[in-house]
Amino acid sequence: MNVSWRLALLTSFFWTPICLANEPITEIDLYADVDVIKTGTRLHQPVMQVPASVTVIDQQMIAASGATQIPQLLRLVPGFLSYSVSGNQFGVSSHALSPDFPGHLDVMVDGRSIYQPILSTVIWTSLGIAVEDIDYIEVIRGSNTSTYGSNAFFGAINIVTMDALESPKLSLRTLYGSIDTQEFSGRYAGSIEDFSYTVSFLTQQNSGFERVSEPKSGPWPLHTRKDDLNNQQFRLQGLYTPTLNDEVDITFGFGKDRIKVPENDVRGYHNRQFDSNYQHVRWTHQLDNGDVALSFYHNYTHIEDDTVLGLLSELTPLTPATVPVAFPGQVDEVLLGDIRNGLSERYHLELQHTFDINQQLRLVWGTVYRVDRLKSRFLLGHKDTIGEEQYQLFGNAEWYFLPDWRANFSLMLEENSIVGTFASPRAALNYQINSDHMLRTSITAGKRTPSLLSVYQNTEITFADGTPIDQIIGNTGSADEEKINVLEVGYLGTFLDGDLTLDLKLFKEELRDARYDAEAVAMDLDGERRVWRNGLDWDNQGAEVQVRYQPNEQWLVSWQYAYMDIEGFLPDDNDPEDIGNHLPSHNTSLLVAYRPLPGWELSGVVYHTSEMEWTGGDEVDEITRLDLRVSRDLRFAGWTGKLELLAHNVMDDYVDYDEDNHFERRIFVRLKFDLE
């Protein structure tokens, strides 16, 4: 790609003629869809026409789930794992391994990717939104690199928040309960002239896990957990529609969240603080044929991490007396493992053009320019800021080539300084048997640029003056793209006049050349270190089922199930590790909500995960968790409200991800008031 070619792409958008025709209305206009899915292909498509498996978690499911944190909601997606790395550090993965910092899903809030380059993951406490701010969550289950690029390697999640016009005028919510939970959030919706806006805030506090599974001894024993959270977020969301054909959406936000994360058995816990801000502007212009959208966003996060590892003599066989012998000129001192003054930043500029070529062919295409920057003395081994420029050119053609047959062809071209230029295509075929039943199949050849951290990480423990002591993890100086080939066959059907929907998917995935940190020899204190490299392969195959039954307004039943068979080994010269148990064979959830009387709702969710070994955590037995909820609507003096009693995990305690994460029963009371 050269510069002139990119400029041609950008400028071509502005040459599109813009006019509004007074065309006659046809039958197609009257029967067109109003509810649509967009994350699958970037085209507005009814669920029946999306060339991928889609899960939509709507407000009814969100409320019935009793979830108090956003990652919990993703347990309602077939094949998705949501786990607690520690009390307030969460991970979400799908079809992939489960490290402390999972990064193979593209998570977006209103279309803004919230991936943090510095940790190669999503910081769920920094989203800036509360559960109550969500309108719905759209999840594409399966590789979506052909639409959203590298990060959508195993799927894409778009969290859509309530619009400025949709929100009540004033909304206040509070949550109190177990683990010293105190939350308060509010949202005000107003307008200035023709500009509609909401301002919202969120404060959260809790003390994390109550205790460890097995108390440990030591100078700072971990009998009592201290992985607490203190979070404050502020957000402004606005909407301006200057003309019938123009819409401008803006979102600004900032926040500060501090979590404590477990350090080691010696030192206990340390603070990790994220100071973040973001700005997102999107302008959509309706054309006579299609629309054009220009969007820009910027995410900024500053990280302070005050990890104190301990005295060198505590961490190694060295004694205070032998330290100067091993390291001439040095004395025993407290070692730091911090990310002090860490920086993580993303700039994203995107143009997208959607139009119909004819009645049978629709096209969306666009281009992205993105810059990721990060800085961390501890993680990179130097004080400089590193950056990566990425260019993307994407397109999706929807071809209605025969009555009831639709083909979708997607292509994403990416270019960056790490792996050069590569392509991620997808071909999909949907056959609409009739208005209630659809069959689909697709094949995807996705590629992913390795995370910046896995390419440039060079972490070592040093004395305060920078003298190296021990290399922890480094890189080989080169990186290749990760690859995934996916074959999917799906069925989507509605029964009982639409009361029951069934979504079935069979899949086979081949993942090749994934990055992993391999053991390596080092000329340092312990003679070893880990090195990021490509070479991890595995195969997944399995099935996912999603059933939703809503016979009336009193009942809602939603069942999700995934069967997964993973085959692969973590390469190691001496002892390759079988990762066949790094995904659960069976993962299911069942949500039931019932309204016995007007204003009352009873709901419960059962989650079951078969035994597995968390990649970054421990081997755990099968987990069964039951959450219950009772809700009562309230009304007085122009206010409407809801009082909820939530019980999380009312059955036996279980180990969540790490043997130290002992999940006990938690009880919460949530009170919400809206003023219309």
Binding site: I25, Y31, A32, D33, H44, P242, L244, P403, Q432, E676
Partner: protein, 332 residues
Amino acid sequence: MRIIKTYIACLITLSLMLCAPLVQAGSDIVLLLSSDALPYREVEQGIRVALVERKDRLTISSLTLDSLLKGEKTLPADHRVLVTIGTRATRHALQENISKSIYASFVTASGLLREISSEKGFPDALKGAVVLDQPAKRIVTLAKLINPHAQKLGTVVNGSAANRLEEFEQVVKKEGLELMAAKLFEGSNPIADLKRIFAHSDVFLVIPDKARFNSKIAKWILFLSYRHRVPVIGYSQKYTEAGALISIFSTPRQVGQDTGERLLGYVSAPKQRSSAVRLQYPRYFSLSVNDKVAESLGLKVDNEAHLKERMRGEHGARIEDGVDLVLEVVGK
């Protein structure tokens, strides 16, 4: 590579399944479908069922416009009526003058008007039509039923649906109500206009326009409906599912059934040349209620069957029959 090979094999098998023999026969009534898509086939099905149920000895055949254009099928020369299903088929039949007796179905009134107001003058071949639009009278009756205290009804239209505004204004006035309407143009601020309408309306009526406009404006309408607690009457099942309190519409099958029944009358007594063509509203219609929206708006709405019963009771057979548009053809 194994996945790709398996995939290609499946695709080839699937392609072979698509090849099917094409059949053609002469008949009294020929149905010309705009395409082979499901809604057109459902209209066809409705027509066939209506004709079969009456046990008439009419022979019926059908073909799609594409098969006609590609020469895969031909129009039987001895047919008595050509029923065009959908805008595309109707446009082709009228423009190319392929039949002496055309009956249009599953088109909108504005779409048909556009076709017959072409430079060639009014096509003599057009003998009648069943349009998709719901009569204003029917919609206003429904509005009064879901909110008996309603005084003001609101709506917005874009360029394409603006010609229906007058019809609504007349009906609303006859019912002793007031219509709050705004015409949205390219330079309009849609939210500002909608806010103004919603602030003064008791029920909001969605008059369907071009899909692009409908889809864009639906979001704002439904948001403001919730904010102002004003019920919305939509025009399709999908509009109800998206958040309208209720929608009123005719399904393709209902349009087909109505067309079939009217065809019987026409075939048994074909009209002579006259100065008017009847564009008939669909006799049969459906209602769909969104109970969740009703609850959030604090409204108690009868179920669909009961509502239709009440519409009949209060306004007699006219609600079922609709009120036909009689198109006076200039220069005919």
